[in-house]
């Protein structure tokens, strides 16, 4: 199962991915963590100012990063960012969303993407708050289009005021449910069942 975690810079994606990975491993699942960008071209592109060149670099980076992942070996592939980041960020920087969607067509799509929706927890001087608000709006627009175009499930987590641990547990609970549905095996322990 391929699971993406998304959200604007500073909402706690990396911590949530680390925590969720630990929790899933505690439940006996084999977890592979992926972080985008994962190759040299993608990391370099973070410093560029042309959203079209960035989109191409991030797409190539994604294809190369995911090529190294053994999807058959892992029970869960947990990714810190997915194609949705390119749609949201590069469209917020001025690239056309339809073109960006077309570019993402050959990219493997997650079974489900969780978007951590909240104000950034940390103020990074590299990011203008107004720009991040624009990206947040673009996540909404991009999600609607991506769900339609690629039939990918996108779950929004209204995470304002939530601890990272709570978000990770919420994701883990849903992932375990999906995995146990797929395996027809009850993996979800009582303490993680709602209500």
């Amino acid at each position: 199962m391929y699971v993406g975690v998304e959200g604007v810079d500073g909402v706690g994606k990396s911590s949530v991915v680390n925590l969720a990975s630990e929790l899933l491993e505690l439940h006996g699942l084999e977890v592979t963590v992926v972080r985008e960008p994962g190759t040299r071209i993608g990391r370099k592109a973070l410093k560029w100012d042309d959203p079209h060149a960035q989109a191409l670099a991030f797409t190539l980076d994604r294809l190369l990063t995911l090529k190294r992942v053994d999807f058959d070996e892992a029970d869960v592939v947990l990714s810190d960012r997915t194609f949705l980041s390119t749609l949201a960020y590069q469209s917020a920087l001025g690239a056309d969303l339809s073109w960006l969607l077309e570019l993402q067509r050959p990219v493997p799509k997650p079974d489900v993407i969780y978007v951590i929706d909240r104000e950034p927890l940390v103020r990074d001087e590299a990011f203008d708050p107004e720009f991040l608000r624009r990206v947040r709006r673009e996540y909404r627009r991009a999600s609607r289009r991506a769900e339609r175009e690629f039939n990918v499930k996108i779950r929004w987590l209204d995470a304002e005021g939530m601890e990272k641990e709570e978000i990770a547990e919420l994701i883990v609970k849903q992932v375990l449910r999906r995995v146990s549905d797929a395996l027809d095996d009850p993996l979800v322990p009582d303490d993680l069942v709602e209500g």
Partner: protein, 136 residues
């Protein structure tokens, strides 16, 4: 070059790169200076402009070549022109010759190369995945 033939050639190139352990993205509809961006194990990152021509001489407008070079610089990639001389049998993979901009003769309004020179100085797409002994 008809749009369909050009697009088919771009798709075949993308598939070829992927099949051999690299990755490639077709930049459809961007109106930009490149058709394909790729990573190939032996040459690294590439920015490729594709040309299907049925003549023994390839002409490419100066602004196209210079746009490709400028994009490749920004992308930190190697700029390449992929020429498919559809009326010839080159013996190269995909019947394509990969040319660096410096392999073409610079003229007032275009860059040009003839078929024989292209065969001599150009790269077989197989070279994207193997290094020659001289490079080792």
């Amino acid at each position: 070059m008809s749009y369909r033939k050009g697009a088919d050639f771009e798709r075949r190139l993308v598939e070829y790169v992927r099949r051999h352990g690299g990755e490639a993205v077709r930049v459809a509809g961007s109106g930009g200076p490149v058709d394909v961006v790729a990573y190939a194990p032996a040459l690294g990152h590439l920015a490729i402009e594709c040309k299907v021509r049925r003549e023994d001489r390839l002409y490419v407008r100066r602004e196209e070549v210079e746009g490709l070079v400028a994009f490749a610089e920004r992308f930190r990639a190697e700029p390449l022109l992929a020429w498919n001389p559809a009326h010839r049998r080159t013996g190269f993979a995909l019947n394509a010759i990969l040319l660096r901009p410096e392999d073409l003769e610079r003229r007032e309004r275009s860059y040009a190369v003839d078929y024989e020179t292209a065969l001599r100085v150009g790269l077989d797409p197989r070279r994207l995945f193997t290094r020659s002994l001289e490079e080792c």
